[in-house]
Amino acid sequence: MTYATSSRRHEAGTAPVIQARGLTKRYGKVVALDGVDLDVHAGTVLGLLGPNGAGKTTIVRILATLLAADEGAATVAGIDVRADPREVRRHIGLSGQYAAVDEYLTGFENLDMIGRLYHLGKAHSRSRARELLAQFDLEDAGDRPTRTYSGGMRRRLDLAGALVAHPPVLFLDEPTTGLDPRGRIQMWDVIRSLVAEGTTLLLTTQYLEEADVLADEIVVIDHGKAIARGTADQLKLQVGGERLEVTIRDRERLADAEELMSRLGTSPQNDLERRTFAVSADLGVATLTAALHAFEGAGIELDDVGLRRPTLDDAFLTLTGRTTEETVAPEDVKGGAER
């Protein structure tokens, strides 16, 4: 496995804020994590991408000092997670897969309690709680018990809880799982503004789109192993370059179009039902131009034509042999590791 060397804001020579080497965790005979290495540099976002049960949550739990690895070592903010977990906790914020807010307390009381447990003092805890409620658009609901909140509001409150002490390092475990599209986009905005302020973020997600939008670097995790890493663009390149995609108008010219396309590029992917053809476009725009001339010359009318870059979905499919939707985690791994 090679390391991706580039990361948008990563300056060469600075020590990573989060560093893990050979993290391994077993539950009985089930290997939940199998020697994972990670580096996250200051002010960047690392996305851990993988299906349920892949081991993403286990990684987060180890780095957030909730779980001890069987083998391997990790430092967060330069502190060894095994040797000094309490010091690590002073530097991190964690927002888990399920909103861990107390449903009988109000939003304000939840945040105030967390502030007090960070030992911010009474006055500071209260003002910080109000500040976060405002920042997360929860001001009006702040004095209602959180059991009256929507799922999106709870997740925002949970994230606010992770930010009470302005932690420089943030772990977000599937921050948008279970949210509706609007809630997800709101959450993305919040996360982006945090990163803009300089927070170092480790994010897990099952959504390729999310990793694509938020992460500077992505590590694809499957069956407890890091099977690929790099920027979203690098991962897409691993899958192959751009592709030419055309949709013709006239069903009677399907055979002609197929023949024409086969001369323009390789690895065809044709959908005759939808009158759509795709081939690799190794020359990029030149291939597109050639295609336009060829179709015009042959008198085949086009409904649509374009160059398409592979999505992370394509990348995931190529890397794991599965799409993200069809992965099913073994229950024992899920129960133990992803709780």
Partner: protein, 271 residues
Amino acid sequence: MKVPYVLADAAVVAKRNIIKIKRVPDLLVFTTLSPIMFVLLFAYVFGGAIDVGGSDETSQAYREFLIAGIFAQTVIFGSTITGAGLAEDVKKGVIDRFRSLPMAPSAVLSGRTFSDVVNNILVLIVMSLTGLLVGWRINTSFWEAAAGFGLLLVFAYSISWIMAWIGMLVPSPEVVNNASFIVIFPLTFVANTFVPLETLPTALQTFAEWNPVSSVTQAARELFGNIPPGTPAPTAWPLLHPEVYTLIWSVAILAIFIPVANAQYRRSTSR
């Protein structure tokens, strides 16, 4: 970690649990409703059939006898809230959140057990009022009665720590409730809580004499002045020195289960 933080953190956790008592009054209603029913059932249904000795009019004497037993049973059951509450917190991820904070680790359990004392105090107040309605009276001084209530609370507090350990051990709150019911129900019945010990078969009688539930009940009864006149004096050592025997048990339980429960709290991080 500095000692003030240990206390301050525990107070923050306790406050959170007490807010919950306030927001979910059902909890208090249900923990007091069944003992109130017990008071009424035993006082009016069985009261006439159970002879506790003494020369008073029988059912009045039984009601006085009964209350301390109901108190003991209720505060012991009240301490199971500790286990169920902690198991629920584990399940909902609240414990994970606590663990990711730089707080004193011991505060989660000590805050919880403390708030359950508050809960037990509220329950005892409701029960005492019910008792007064059915004719129970305190026949001793204020300080003796206070000592009686105090001993009940101390004993229940120690049981809370056993429950805290169980709560960190089991997978769900329901298991805590079922498991504790199986153990606590017989413990509180094979005792002098509802019937005089002399009525039990010999084997059970010996068990009941050494059962700390009997001693805490006996101590409360004596401190409230609810031993009917003319009752034969107990023969077993625990019941001759019920306060001392109860305190020995409480201290022993605390000495074992505070460290054990806290170790389990730290260990369950690696679940």
